[in-house]
C-alpha cells in the first residue's frame, strides 16, 4: 500500500490538463475494480449457496457484498471529488454514473434483504438470487463508458492502456495493493460471520 501511495503522489508524473487532481484516479479506479471483483465474489457465493444450501456461502456472499458496497461508496465519493473541479459539478446523470448508482442500490438492497432474512432460508435464497442478478449490472457499467457517450475517460482499450508509463505503474501498484487489502478484509469479515454462526448454533443448543 505504501508503494501504491508513493506511486500515486511521487512516481506518477503530473497530468498536463487536470494537474494534481488527476491523482485521485490512482485510488478511484482500483477501488472501482476491487468493488466489481467483490460483487462478482458475492454473486459466485450466491450461486454456491443455491447449489449447496450451506450457510457458509451465505456468509461469504454477505461479506463480499458488504466490502464491495463500502468500496463502491468510496468510488462515488472520490468520483464526485474529482468531477467537481474537472467537470464543474459533483454529479451528472451520465450513463456510467447512473448504471454505477444502480449497482450500488442493488447491493445495498441485497444487504438489507439478507439482514432481514434472519433464519428464513427462503429469504436467504431470494437474497442470493438478488446478488446473482445484480451482477448483470457490472458489465453494463463497463460498457456504458464505451458505447453510451459517457463523460468518464476510457483508459483501457484493446490497442493501448492510454497512460504514460509512470502513470500505468502507479495504477498497477494501486490495483495490486487494493486487491490484497480486499483479500485481507474479506477474510476478516468471513471470520466474523462464521463466529456469528457459531454463536447462533450455541444459542440454539442451549434453548
Amino acid at each position: 500500500m505504501l508503494a501504491a501511495l508513493y506511486g500515486a503522489f511521487v512516481y506518477a508524473r503530473r497530468e498536463v490538463v487536470m494537474g494534481d487532481i488527476q491523482r485521485i484516479f490512482y485510488v478511484h479506479l482500483p477501488l472501482a475494480w476491487v468493488g466489481f471483483v467483490a460483487f462478482g465474489h458475492a454473486a459466485w457465493a450466491g450461486i454456491r449457496y443455491l447449489q449447496t444450501g450451506r450457510q457458509e456461502w451465505d456468509v461469504v456472499g454477505a461479506s463480499a457484498a458488504e466490502i464491495g458496497l463500502l468500496f463502491a461508496t468510496l468510488v462515488i465519493i472520490t468520483g464526485s471529488l474529482w468531477a467537481r473541479p474537472v467537470w464543474g459539478t459533483w454529479w451528472t446523470w451520465d450513463p456510467q454514473l447512473v448504471t454505477y448508482l444502480i449497482l450500488w442500490l442493488i447491493y445495498a438492497g441485497y444487504l438489507v434483504l439478507r439482514a432481514a432474512a434472519g433464519d428464513d432460508p427462503r429469504q436467504a435464497r431470494f437474497a442470493a438470487v438478488f446478488a446473482i442478478v445484480g451482477f448483470v449490472d457490472v458489465p453494463l457499467v463497463w460498457l456504458s463508458a464505451r458505447y453510451l457517450r459517457a463523460l468518464s475517460p476510457v483508459i483501457f482499450t484493446t490497442r493501448s492502456i492510454g497512460l504514460a508509463p509512470s502513470m500505468a505503474w502507479a495504477l498497477l501498484a494501486g490495483l495490486v495493493a487494493w486487491s490484497l487489502l480486499y483479500i485481507v478484509l474479506v477474510r476478516a469479515r468471513i471470520r466474523l460471520g462464521v463466529l456469528e454462526l457459531r454463536l447462533q448454533a450455541l444459542i440454539d443448543e442451549r434453548a
Binding site: 494534481d20 478511484h28 468510496l74 454463536l199
Partner: protein, 63 residues
C-alpha cells in the same frame, strides 16, 4: 489540492472506521462464544456425569 486531500482522507477514514468496527465486533463475538461454549460444556457435563466428551454443535449445516 483540497479535493485531492479530501478524496484520500475520506478513503482512509472510512477504511479505518470499518476495520475498527470489524475488530470490535469480532472481539465481542469471541467473548460471547467462549462464555456460551463454557456454559454449554458445563451443562452437558452435568447431564453426563461419566465425563463423556461433549461434541461441539455443527456450524454451517444446511438450513
Amino acid at each position: 489540492m483540497t479535493y485531492l486531500f479530501w478524496a484520500f482522507a475520506v478513503v482512509w477514514i472510512a477504511l479505518f472506521v470499518y476495520v475498527y468496527g470489524l475488530s470490535r465486533r469480532s472481539r465481542r463475538l469471541e467473548r460471547e462464544v467462549d462464555e456460551l461454549a463454557a456454559r454449554v460444556g458445563a451443562g452437558a457435563e452435568a447431564r453426563h456425569p461419566t465425563g463423556a466428551p461433549v461434541t461441539p454443535p455443527p456450524v454451517g449445516t444446511p438450513r
